[in-house]
């Protein structure tokens, strides 16, 4: 039995060979772009970590800044201030955002839902400097800078994020669960409260955590509302409170090497918080998806 030349070839030729080459090139460009993103993040993390290294010590986290500048001292007052401001902002944005999401997914007719949806998207795209100057005009002019004004501005930044995230998980709930609740002669609200919300709890929390991570780093609104502060530890929210983003900004403009290092240190703290929060949110979301059986 001799092997004769095949009647046709299964190997690429002509156009197909060209397409394969183009395909290969596009694939490598795409891979390169993805690697670039990873690389940029890696470089940012590495450079911040290197620059911040001299500043990091136990005192850095536990002590307030030195009253008269110079070496020593830490950023404890800014950590506490940021936590308070972001905490208050979350307290404002989370309930309202979740209610908006519930309204949009469970109650609103499409004709009502889509304009609200659009408004949320616009709000999400609103430059935070605009939010900042708005709150400045609303709550700061005629009064003083205050932590609650900063929290209010951050809440505006967080609101569309929370609402969109909550809406997305609510849409994941199978409509069979809503029907099951309603078929028991239970009203819509009780079904939402008793069945839908508990099911989506993890997902909503995820959205909240991501919004918190975003708000924690917002600087523009805080420059308008809580940027001139006494560096000592304080929890009085009716006054300006020190906070990490503004501290990074002001320290980096000081003619003092120690303060520059502290600015890098604060940047590292902020970045670590955002990283941990994002990873935690991802884990939470995976857990809640499992719970929904998807």
């Amino acid at each position: 039995m001799s092997v004769s030349a095949p009647e046709f070839s299964l190997r690429p030729s002509g156009r197909l060979r060209r397409r394969r080459i183009v395909n290969r090139i596009m694939e490598s460009i795409g891979t390169g772009a993805a690697l670039l993103a990873v690389g940029v993040l890696g470089i940012v993390i590495a450079s911040v970590a290197v620059q911040a290294a001299p500043a990091i010590s136990l005192d850095f986290f536990t002590k307030p800044p030195n009253l008269f500048g110079g070496a020593g001292g830490g950023i404890s007052s800014a950590i506490i201030g940021s936590a308070l401001i972001v905490g208050m902002a979350t307290g404002l944005a989370l309930p309202v955002g979740v209610l908006i999401a519930i309204f949009l997914t469970e109650f609103a007719r499409p004709a009502v839902a889509s304009p609200i949806q659009l408004v949320l998207d616009i709000l999400n795209g609103l430059p935070t400097i605009v939010t900042g100057i708005f709150v400045y005009g609303l709550l700061v002019i005629g009064h003083t800078q205050s932590a609650y004004a900063g929290a209010f501005a951050l809440a505006i930044v967080m609101l569309p994020l929370v609402a969109r995230a909550a809406q997305e998980v609510l849409l994941l709930v199978p409509s069979a669960l809503r029907e099951a609740g309603l078929a028991l002669g239970v009203s819509r609200w009780r079904t939402v409260l008793g069945v839908i919300l508990p099911t989506t709890f993890g997902g909503i929390l995820t959205g909240a955590v991501l919004a918190v991570a975003r708000a924690a780093g917002e600087t523009a609104p805080l420059l308008f509302t809580t940027s001139i502060f006494n560096p000592a530890v304080s929890t009085d929210v009716t006054h300006s409170l020190p906070n990490i983003p503004v501290l990074i900004f002001t320290y980096s403009e000081q003619p003092d090497k120690a303060l520059h290092e502290q600015a890098w240190g604060a940047a590292l703290v902020l970045m670590a918080f955002v990283l941990v929060a994002s990873l935690g949110a991802k884990a939470l979301l995976a857990r809640s998806r499992r719970k929904l059986g998807q």
Partner: protein, 285 residues
């Protein structure tokens, strides 16, 4: 030994008619639903039209017919589940024990409280087995003797023995058939008067299906059951009365219509309409 309650199965092709199943004599009938000129439109499409029928207390009534003939649309009219479809429009009247459930001022929540429903796909809440059954009664204010109520409902749904040791476990850990029985337990825990079952066994294997069918026989002592099924054998096995729906195509529009409604014996052995006969003998559908 010959007694009255032994009946010989009548064979119509592969369909075996169950025993102990009878249509009510007119004197014994107690009408639960009186449906008149029911028409349902989804936007420009008419799903069903001109449906007139009565459903009797403590009997099992089956709706059969080919896919898309409007059986599910019909059963969803009986507890106003169609309200959830924004484009659905219901005309005609559905009298539940003399009251039109589509009348002004009628709250669909109150209607559904009395007329429970079990769906095609088991849809337990992502809660514990106990909470699945207890949630409805708790929300509706039936808090006294909740444990007993849960046990009774699970027993009625023939599930108690399988789950009594793991009531706190997630309902999603149960098998498909168990989940469906849990859904039945959940529906009867609030003591509805009617139970609507929309193809309750279509996603189950034969053993689980047979468990659900046995359960239906037990439940009819206390409840009025209406079941939608595309499985003729199932209708023949469980139902006292059977309604046959089909799709009528006229001027390019497809509309579900009720063809014949009679005792299950009659429908399967001696239907009066040619279309019913074609369907039950397997010549169509």
């Amino acid at each position: 030994m010959m007694t009255d309650d032994v009946t010989i199965p009548i064979n119509v092709g592969p369909v075996e008619i169950a025993r102990e199943r009878k249509a009510p004599a007119p004197a014994q009938r107690e009408t639960v639903f009186d449906i008149r000129d029911l028409e349902v439109n989804y936007g420009p499409t008419t799903a069903i039209s001109g449906v007139n029928l009565e459903i009797y207390r403590h009997y099992i009534t089956a709706m059969i017919g080919p896919s898309g003939c409007g059986k599910s649309t019909f059963i969803r009219c009986l507890n106003r589940m169609n309200d959830l479809v924004p484009s659905a429009k219901v005309e005609g009247s559905v009298l539940y024990r003399g009251q039109d459930i589509y009348a002004d001022g009628v709250d669909p929540v109150e209607v559904r409280r009395r007329i429970g429903m079990v769906f095609q796909r088991a849809n337990p809440f992502p809660k514990s087995i106990y909470d699945n059954v207890a949630w409805g009664p708790r929300v509706l204010g039936m808090r006294n003797g909740l444990d007993d109520r849960v046990e009774r409902a699970l027993t009625s749904a023939a599930l108690w023995n399988e789950v009594k040791d793991r009531l706190k476990k997630s309902a999603l850990s149960l098998s498909g058939g168990q989940q469906q029985r849990l859904c039945i337990a959940r529906a009867i825990a609030i003591e509805p008067e009617v139970l609507l079952l929309d193809e309750p066994a279509s996603a189950l294997d034969p053993i689980a299906t047979s468990a659900i069918e046995d359960l239906m026989h037990d439940l009819k002592k206390d409840y009025t059951l209406v079941i939608v099924t595309h499985n003729m054998q199932q209708a023949a096995r469980v139902a006292d009365l059977t309604a046959f729906f089909t799709l009528e195509v006229a001027e390019g529009r497809r509309t579900g219509v009720l063809v014949e409604y009679d005792s299950t014996d009659k429908i399967f052995t001696n239907p009066s309409d040619k279309r019913t006969e074609d369907y039950v003998t397997g010549r169509f559908g």
